[in-house]
């Protein structure tokens, strides 16, 4: 324990780099496969809405030069990759001359904050519920009630978000409909601001937690049932250990390991779900940024946000995977999966 085998480390880092490169490339290729280019479309739309734009052709040309669209494709590709490395995605088309990276800089902290909070609660709570579903010392009444809590599990996050919004914000007026903080409050490290952030964040976080804790609970239940049948649990009982000690040191400790791998694999879905929740709640994170960009057809922003979300997900998965050898003592000998 406590040592990451070199082979595992290199394979894992290699996969990380490949993932990012592949995603960046796909994002770059797709628009070039489509007829027309985003710039002309953009200026065309501006022209249409303003009625007439003087020297439209000149503007288009100027922009094309600025974006390097006149260079050979391969150079464009290299320039793009270089930009990705420096988080430079050029200018937003809809709110020129703001840089895409500036917009992302504003949105990202909200997304990461909400995601970390919601996902941590979900994982811990879900696994806890799954564990006590199997534990023989759980009071019967709790075991009987749990399945009702799992009803939300199957629903997409976006639907849960809609229902919560309707019931708690619209009908009951208990929570705000939109945003991450009240407009009157000055952002900063004040109690007022922290309170308003929690107040606004409750429903979005609840939407994520409600729909995904059941997934972990069911997975944990399956693992706990498998572990419960293991010889070492029987021996632990024969040893006369205290039931709670057996639960967390023998059962949960072993059952949680595959859950952690599953967690790494599910991160992509979790992030997607969160993006949609942000859009429903008008939460000023990446989800809202993407939605606004889709509405205004701001392709540069779509490209940049997609890349950043994919990058962040890959980093999170990498961290979980690299932490795994520290959690499962067996992996340091096996090396690799």
């Amino acid at each position: 324990m406590g040592r990451i085998p070199a082979g595992y480390l290199f394979r894992r880092l290699g996969i990380f780099v490949l993932t990012i490169w592949l995603a960046a490339t796909v994002i770059w290729i797709i628009p070039r496969l489509a007829p027309g280019d985003p710039i002309s479309a953009m200026v065309g739309r501006m022209a249409a809405s303003a009625g007439f734009i003087e020297n439209a052709d000149a503007i288009i040309e100027g922009w094309q030069e600025r974006f390097g669209l006149n260079e050979p494709l391969f150079n464009q590709y290299l320039r793009y990759l270089w930009g990705c490395l420096r988080f430079d995605f050029g200018y937003s088309l809809a709110s020129f001359p703001t840089q895409v990276s500036t917009l992302i800089g504003f949105a990202l902290p909200w997304t990461i904050g909400l995601l970390l909070l919601a996902v941590t609660i979900t994982f811990i709570f879900g696994n806890f519920v799954g564990a006590i579903m199997v534990w023989s010392h759980t009071p019967r009444i709790i075991k009987a009630l749990i399945p009702f809590g799992l009803v939300f599990t199957s629903i997409p996050t976006i639907l849960a978000a809609l229902l919560l919004l309707y019931v708690f914000a619209f009908l009951l007026n208990a929570f705000p409909m939109r945003g991450a903080y009240a407009l009157g409050v000055e952002p900063g490290l004040s109690w007022d601001f922290i309170w308003t952030v929690i107040y606004h964040g409750t429903l979005p976080a609840l939407a994520i937690i409600l729909v995904s804790f059941g997934y972990w609970a069911l997975g944990m239940r399956g693992m706990m049932i498998t572990v419960e049948g293991e010889d070492y649990i029987q021996l632990a009982k024969a040893k006369g250990l205290k039931p709670f000690h057996i639960l967390y040191r023998y059962m949960v400790r072993n059952a949680i390991l595959p859950q952690i791998t599953a967690f790494a694999l599910a991160l992509g879905t979790l992030v997607s779900g969160q993006i949609l929740v942000e859009y429903i709640f008008g939460y000023p994170g990446m989800g809202k940024l993407i939605y606004d960009a889709i509405i205004t057809q701001d392709f540069a922003v779509i490209q940049g946000t997609s890349y950043i979300v994919i990058l962040l997900t890959a980093i999170a998965v990498l961290i979980v995977d690299l932490a795994y050898p520290f959690i499962d003592p067996r992996i340091s000998l096996k090396g690799g999966r």
Partner: protein
Amino acid sequence: MSDAQMTSEALETADAGKPERTMGRFNKWDTPWLNGKLLTGAGIILAILVMGLIGRLVWDTELAFTGSSPLNLPPVGFENNRGQVGEWAHPLGTENSGRDMLAVLLLGTPNTFLIGAIAAAAGMGIGIVLGFSSGFIGGWVDGVIRLAADVTITIPALMVLVVISAVLRQIDLVTMALLIAAFAWQSPTRLIRSQVLSMKESGYVRMAKLSGASTIDIMFKEMLPNLIPYLFASFIAGATGAILAAVGLETLGLGPQRVPTLGGTIYDAISAAALLRNMWWWWGLPTVLLALMFVGLLLVNLGLDEIANPRLRKASK
């Protein structure tokens, strides 16, 4: 056991205590495929599908198009913000561009299912081919396939799909399903690969090899049948994921625009501020339908889990 083959002979010698021999399954209804969760789930899904199909025959689906009906009517028995009451001509109400909700739902529900089914089937097909190749051929083929799956499995599909759909603008059902399938093959591939690897070592496949069966024969006659519960579960999980992705794209306004879908209806409702106008039927009905659909899929999946993993069955008693 050679013991078992001597049944009749031995019974004759020991007719006194004639025990009834019912080994293995106790009766034909005791098959694991008939478990409550699986049946309930399948029932829910079937009911939704049948309603969608029969509904087309009895209801005028032309009403699903813009301007075919009065605007913003509530369902029968309710009243909208302007004091209008629902009428039987539009039992589930209408939305703000004059579409009849019942017709929209009748058309949209099967469409949403269709996307899930196509995407899951395509993803599954790729998964079967790659998983079998990976597990059976091994070597560099296995290496490449594993790497491809490992590299792509953590990419949030929605993000790439958003980029693609944003560029394509107009997208039809099948294209969308196939796009989603591009992110739905990794799990089945991994699952099948690991099952094939463990099965390859099992006695009956070795016997088939020793008796000179060809690789293809072994793959399809000996191994595939044993994978069926896993494949089925994987298909349902794939369909659930695909519908999830499809609904996500649709609610972002990136779904097919020429045909109604459940997610697309929710998108329209949100962009028209249906929530604030208390037009709950507009977004609420598709939401409830989708929720039912997902509950059904979850139940089927749990049921299949119990078939593939008998320990769960015991524990659920």
